[in-house]
C-alpha cells in the first residue's frame, strides 16, 4: 500500500498542483478544504483510479468520504481492490 499512497500523491501533485508541492500536502489534508480539487477534479481523479487500478467506481461511491484526501483514497482503494481480487 506504500506504493499506492505514493502513486496517488504523485498524481495529485502532478495533476492538480502542477508539480508544485504547494507547501506540504499531508495525507489527511482535505482536497476540498485546501482548494486542490474542483468539480472536474473529482472526475479527473475517478478516471485516474479507474484506469490505473482497473476498478469500476459507482456513482454512489463518489463522495468526499472516499475521495477527499490521500488517506481516504488509500482506504477506499484498498477496499475496492479486495473486492475485485
Amino acid at each position: 500500500m506504500q506504493n499506492i499512497e505514493q502513486e496517488l500523491r504523485q498524481f495529485v501533485v502532478d495533476n492538480f498542483l502542477f508539480g508544485q508541492p504547494n507547501g506540504h500536502l499531508s495525507s489527511s489534508d482535505s482536497f476540498l478544504d485546501k482548494g486542490i480539487i474542483d468539480s472536474t477534479g473529482v472526475l479527473e481523479l475517478v478516471v485516474f483510479l479507474e484506469e490505473t487500478y482497473r476498478i469500476k467506481i459507482q456513482d454512489r461511491e463518489l463522495v468526499p468520504d472516499n475521495l477527499d484526501s490521500i488517506n481516504n483514497l488509500v482506504r477506499f482503494l484498498e477496499r475496492k481492490l479486495q473486492h475485485t481480487s
Binding site: F18, Q20, D38, S39, T40, D59, L62, V63, P64, D65
Partner: protein, 660 residues
C-alpha cells in the same frame, strides 16, 4: 466612432505633429475614414474618424469660432438632437449636424457639468486654451475606453494604450499588482491597468489637467439605495414596473438607431439580444440586418436558437462559423486589441464576428449587453441566493439539491453526487459576513491560478491585498445595500467595463471598425433597473423575471423558456487542436517563460502537458492556460517587441476565409 489621442506639454512648447501622427496611426482601426491633428503652443490633439453622423462635416479636432476650445471625441451622444434643439432655443448657433458640436456647445454653456446632460457612450477631450485646461470625460458605464499617463514633461492620453506607447519616452512594463488583480477578479481595478504608470480613466469620471495638476472626479455612480429599500415591496407595483420599463427600452433603442449609416444587430440566441432585435423590428421602421456566430462544438453552439429568433423576427441574417482553430489563429490579434490578459477566449469569436459585420459594409450594431448585470440574469446571483438559503439551515440535506439548478451548461458539475455538490457550495461562517459574499467562490477559484506565478511575482504580490483594493473603491452605502444589489454592483462596476464592454466589446468590435450600441445600458434604463426591488429581478430562482415579462410576446416562446446560457467559447483546447499555432510553443516554452519571469516554467510545462494529453477539462485549468498565454502575448506584443507583432501578421491572411 473613432479614436482619440493627445499630448499636453507642461511647459509652453509646441507638440511635435509627428508624435501625434504616430499616436493616431496606432489606432487607425478605430477610425479609418479620416484623420486630423491640431497643435497650438502647448496642446496637441489627434483624431481618427469613423464617419457615422454628418458624414460630410464632422471633421475633428473641431473648434469653436475663436479656436479657444478644441474637441476630439470618440463615441455617440444619442440625445444630441434634443440637446441641440435646446441649445438653439438658448441662442447657440451650430455649423454642423454632428453630436461632436453639441458637446462643444454644451461645454460652452455649462462647462464641465455638461456631461450630466449627455445620454451616450463617450470618451472625449476638450482643450480650453484660454483657461489652459484640458478636460477629459468618459461615459457612465465605461463603454468607450480612455487611458493616460504622465511623463516628465507632458500629460499623454489615448483611446488605446498602444497610442500612448507610440511615444518613445513612455516605458512599457507589466504591473505585478494588476496581474494579481486580474488573476483574482478577472479585471484590474481602475485606474490601474496591466502596465505600470498607464492609467485608465474609470467609468463615470471626468479629469481635468491644468499645468501639472491632474484631478479626477466622479460625476455619476450606480446606486442601489432605492432598490434595497424596495425589498419586499408589494406586487401591485409590478404592472407599473413592466409598463414603464418597456417604454424606456423602446426609447433607449429608438435613439440608438440614430445614424447616417445602416444599423445591424447581434443575435446570440439568448433573451437579451432577441429582445433588442424585437424592439427594433416592432417599434421602429428600421430595416434590420442581424449577425451571429455559431460554433463547430455543440457544447457552445446556439445556432438553433439563433435561427428561431431570426425566423420569428424575419431579419436578414448572416452568420459566421467559428472553430477551435479559428480561435487559436486570431488569438494574438485579439490580445493586441484587448491590451490586457484575459481568462477566457470568448472575445475571439466576437473579433471574427465583427470582421463579418464589416465585410457586409456595416459599422454599427446593437447588442444585448448589460441586461444580465442590470436585470439579474447571471448564475452568480442565483448561486449567492441558494448559498444564503442553505447557510440559513446548514443541517438541511435537501436545500443543497437546489445547486443542481445552477450552471446547467456545465456537465461536470451536473454529474456530481449530492455530497460533493454540498461540499462545493458549502458556505463557511466568515463568508456570510463578507461584503463580497456573492463573489467569493469565483474569486477564490480564480486565485488558485496564482500557483502558476513565478517565485519573483509571488514575492512581489505577497503583501498585496486585492480585496482591500476593491473595498477602497466601493461607493458609500454599499454595505447597507441588499445582498442581491451588492452582487449586481460588483458585476456592473468592475467586470462589465473591465471585461465585457472592453475585451469582449469595444476592443474586438473596433478592431474591425464596428461600433456596438447597448440599449440596456442607457443610463435611464440602468437607473430605473437599480430601483427595481431585487425580488422582481429574480423571482425566487427565475432570473430576469421582470425583463422577461416585458419581452413576453415579442421574442420566440422557446427563447423565453430556455435555461440561461452565458456566451462562452472553447477555451484551452483551441490552442492544442489540429495544426497547433506556432506562437503557443514559442511563448509557453520553458525558456521563454523563464526569460519573461512572470510564471513558473515547470508548472506551465505540466499544464501544457495536461492539455496536450487531452486531460485538462476543468474550469480552473482552462482559465490558467488562457490567462498565462494571453499574459505572454501581452508581454510579447507590448513589452518585448512593441509593434512588430509577428504572430499577428501571420493570422491576418487566414481569417477572411472564415467568413461565408
Amino acid at each position: 466612432m473613432c479614436g482619440i489621442a493627445g499630448i499636453l506639454n507642461f511647459s509652453e512648447k509646441r507638440v511635435d505633429p509627428v508624435l501625434l501622427v504616430r499616436m493616431v496611426e496606432r489606432i487607425r482601426h478605430r477610425g479609418p475614414d479620416d484623420f486630423g491633428i491640431y497643435t497650438d503652443k502647448r496642446a496637441g490633439l489627434a483624431h481618427a474618424r469613423l464617419s457615422i453622423i454628418d458624414l460630410g462635416a464632422g471633421q475633428q479636432p473641431m473648434h469653436n469660432e475663436d479656436k479657444s476650445l478644441s474637441i476630439i471625441f470618440n463615441g455617440e451622444i444619442f440625445n444630441y438632437i434634443e440637446l441641440r434643439e435646446d441649445l438653439i432655443r438658448k441662442g447657440r448657433s451650430f455649423r454642423t449636424r454632428s453630436d461632436t458640436e453639441v458637446i462643444l456647445r454644451l461645454y460652452e454653456e455649462k462647462g464641465e457639468e455638461c456631461v450630466q446632460d449627455l445620454n451616450g457612450q463617450w470618451a472625449f477631450a476638450i482643450w480650453d486654451s484660454k483657461r489652459e485646461r484640458l478636460f477629459l470625460s468618459r461615459d457612465r458605464l465605461g463603454v468607450r475606453p480612455l487611458f493616460y499617463t504622465v511623463t516628465e514633461d507632458a500629460f499623454v492620453f489615448g483611446s488605446e494604450i498602444k497610442s500612448i506607447f507610440a511615444l518613445p519616452n513612455v516605458s512599457r512594463e507589466i504591473d505585478p499588482i494588476a496581474l494579481d488583480q486580474i488573476f483574482t477578479f478577472w479585471v484590474s481595478i481602475p485606474p490601474r491597468t496591466i502596465f505600470k504608470n498607464i492609467l485608465e480613466l474609470p467609468p463615470g469620471h471626468s479629469l481635468t489637467v491644468h499645468r501639472k495638476q491632474i484631478a479626477a472626479q466622479q460625476y455619476w455612480r450606480l446606486d442601489y439605495a432605492e432598490g434595497s429599500m424596495n425589498v419586499g415591496s408589494v406586487a401591485a407595483h409590478e404592472e407599473q414596473y413592466v409598463g414603464e420599463l418597456l417604454d424606456l427600452l423602446v426609447d433607449a433603442t429608438r435613439i440608438r438607431l440614430r445614424s447616417d449609416v445602416p444599423v445591424g444587430a447581434y443575435v446570440s440566441g439568448g433573451l437579451d439580444s432577441s429582445f433588442v432585435t424585437a424592439l427594433v423590428k416592432k417599434f421602429t421602421e428600421t430595416p434590420l440586418r442581424t449577425f451571429s456566430v455559431t460554433f463547430d462544438d455543440a457544447e457552445f453552439d446556439e445556432g438553433s436558437y439563433q435561427n428561431e429568433v431570426t425566423h420569428f423576427l424575419e431579419t436578414d441574417h448572416q452568420e459566421v462559423r467559428c472553430s477551435c482553430e479559428d480561435i487559436g489563429s486570431v488569438f494574438p490579434a485579439v490580445i493586441w486589441h484587448t491590451e490586457r490578459p484575459i481568462l477566457r477566449t470568448a472575445p475571439a469569436p466576437l473579433y471574427i464576428l465583427s470582421e463579418l459585420v464589416r465585410a457586409h459594409g456595416y459599422k454599427v450594431v446593437l447588442t444585448g449587453e448589460g441586461a444580465d448585470e442590470m436585470f439579474g440574469g447571471y448564475d452568480i446571483f442565483k448561486e449567492a441566493k441558494i448559498r444564503r438559503f442553505c447557510a440559513a439551515h446548514p443541517q438541511s440535506t435537501t436545500r443543497p439539491l437546489l445547486f443542481r439548478r445552477l450552471y446547467p451548461y456545465q456537465p461536470y458539475l451536473q454529474g456530481q453526487s449530492d455530497a460533493y455538490l454540498r461540499a462545493f457550495f458549502h458556505v463557511r461562517p466568515h463568508e456570510l459576513k463578507s461584503e463580497f459574499f456573492s463573489h467569493l467562490p469565483r474569486w477564490e477559484l480564480t486565485s488558485k491560478l496564482k500557483m502558476f506565478f513565478s517565485e519573483d511575482i509571488k514575492s512581489q504580490v505577497r503583501s498585496h491585498d486585492g480585496y482591500a483594493d476593491l473595498r477602497s473603491t466601493l461607493p458609500p452605502g454599499y454595505s447597507s445595500w441588499d445582498g442581491f444589489c451588492r452582487a449586481q454592483y460588483l458585476e456592473a462596476a468592475y467586470l462589465l467595463p473591465g471585461y465585457i464592454l472592453s475585451s469582449q466589446g469595444d476592443r474586438v468590435a473596433m478592431a474591425h471598425s464596428v461600433e456596438g450600441r447597448f440599449p440596456f445600458l442607457d443610463y435611464r434604463v440602468v437607473e430605473f433597473a437599480a430601483g427595481i426591488p431585487p425580488h422582481l429581478k429574480m423571482k425566487v430562482l427565475n432570473e430576469k423575471y421582470l425583463l422577461k415579462r416585458c419581452a413576453n410576446g415579442l421574442v420566440p416562446p422557446s427563447v423565453m423558456k430556455r435555461p440561461k446560457q452565458p456566451y462562452r467559447a472553447p477555451d484551452g483546447k483551441s490552442f492544442f487542436h489540429g495544426s497547433q499555432p506556432e506562437y503557443v510553443d514559442v511563448l509557453l516554452s520553458s525558456d521563454r517563460i523563464q526569460q519573461d519571469g512572470l510564471f513558473d516554467s515547470l508548472a506551465v510545462k505540466s499544464l501544457v502537458q495536461k492539455f496536450r494529453q487531452g486531460r485538462a477539462i476543468g474550469v480552473r485549468d482552462n482559465m490558467a492556460l488562457v490567462g498565462i498565454l494571453s499574459t505572454q502575448l501581452v508581454v510579447e506584443q507590448f513589452v518585448r517587441n512593441f509593434g512588430d507583432r509577428p504572430f499577428y501578421a501571420e493570422h491576418r491572411a487566414g481569417t477572411a476565409s472564415v467568413c461565408r
